[in-house]
Symmetry: D2
Amino acid sequence: MLAADPYAANLGVVVDTVTEDQIVVSMEVTDRHLNFLGVSHGGAVFSLADCAFSLASNSAGRALAIDTHLVLTAASRHGDRLQATVRELSRGGTLGTYRAEVTRQDGRLVGLFTGTVHISGDS
Amino acid sequence: MLAADPYAANLGVVVDTVTEDQIVVSMEVTDRHLNFLGVSHGGAVFSLADCAFSLASNSAGRALAIDTHLVLTAASRHGDRLQATVRELSRGGTLGTYRAEVTRQDGRLVGLFTGTVHISGDS
Amino acid sequence: MLAADPYAANLGVVVDTVTEDQIVVSMEVTDRHLNFLGVSHGGAVFSLADCAFSLASNSAGRALAIDTHLVLTAASRHGDRLQATVRELSRGGTLGTYRAEVTRQDGRLVGLFTGTVHISGDS
Amino acid sequence: MLAADPYAANLGVVVDTVTEDQIVVSMEVTDRHLNFLGVSHGGAVFSLADCAFSLASNSAGRALAIDTHLVLTAASRHGDRLQATVRELSRGGTLGTYRAEVTRQDGRLVGLFTGTVHISGDS
């Protein structure tokens, strides 16, 4: 699905691994991800986590994101590689909740993401 | 500041108005903002609100985002124009909290954003 | 509805005003609301906002809270009176989103709340 | 610390286990935790998680909660026993972030909590 996602392509987000338990996506921080302070834009970190969330939540039927929360715990800079690992924590007939962690290549936690989807149909 | 923000430039975010009470930024939804379902990526809506939040929170000193929350209330599509209006609700010596609303050109509310910054220095 | 809410009664939450546009509830901070630091427990501030959210979201049909976010912007202490004012920002057939602000008697903003409900039936 | 916390006492929150990696607190759902629909009030579930968060974040110095997020994933009723397990995910000199999961006695996930504190001094 990510291959058909223009937003993910524009940001350079790629899929690393997909297993039953988790999905991992990553992105290298380049100039286009930076804000005016020279560090990764909050929106870039959010978008990486959101790509993982979107993949995980749509794998078993069409799902629309309704709520997202992101705590930013460390900065990242040009040349850093960020990885988002997402897991499904709850999924019923109409709602599903996922958590993702974004880490830097040195293992430092960069972001903590939680997202909820409304499931609107079968895949 | 937005002019020196490569991330905002990549997404086509522009500043509409800046007053003492609020800041308004906007972006036209184009192909690069879409997800694999053909609607605006949650990350794109978040990023627009985050640009407004960043401008508002850095106007009186250097501020780092530490927490962000976004509720998505309606979809947007290619050709829509999204506008984010941000207001400062609380600012002390070390923390500041801001709320932004993202609307479509037809007035429909698309997203509700809340963000908190840690203030790390003077401008 | 609040009169039939044992949780609200236990915390001393009362309804101040109900109009079409907003609902206001309040509570006096007493010993039972304090944490081990001697200030109002985050759970007490949350609960006041949640009571307002619950009243507003159930006024037009049965609604279950699915997501809540609270930023705490100032402390409150024994003898303070806290007031939560809630407004509906979005409501469709299955989802509704509300924002509440909690203030102290001196006008200081104590908490910023956002909540989303899943609407499961008519009233 | 929980023994000196009037709010926790009022809600019947007790500490189950404290280890270096996690803290577990629990509470039996009784009448005083119910809302007008007869299920546990969102504020009660939040408060349980918040007690765990408070214990964990204050164990190494005085910490003030600044941001909290709770997703509610299942209901609980009179007689249920709810347990909140909290872990520290990030802690620097001025900020710390914690995640807690609230579960029912049958293992069902009831709530997903994320909280951030501002660290204001040593213990």
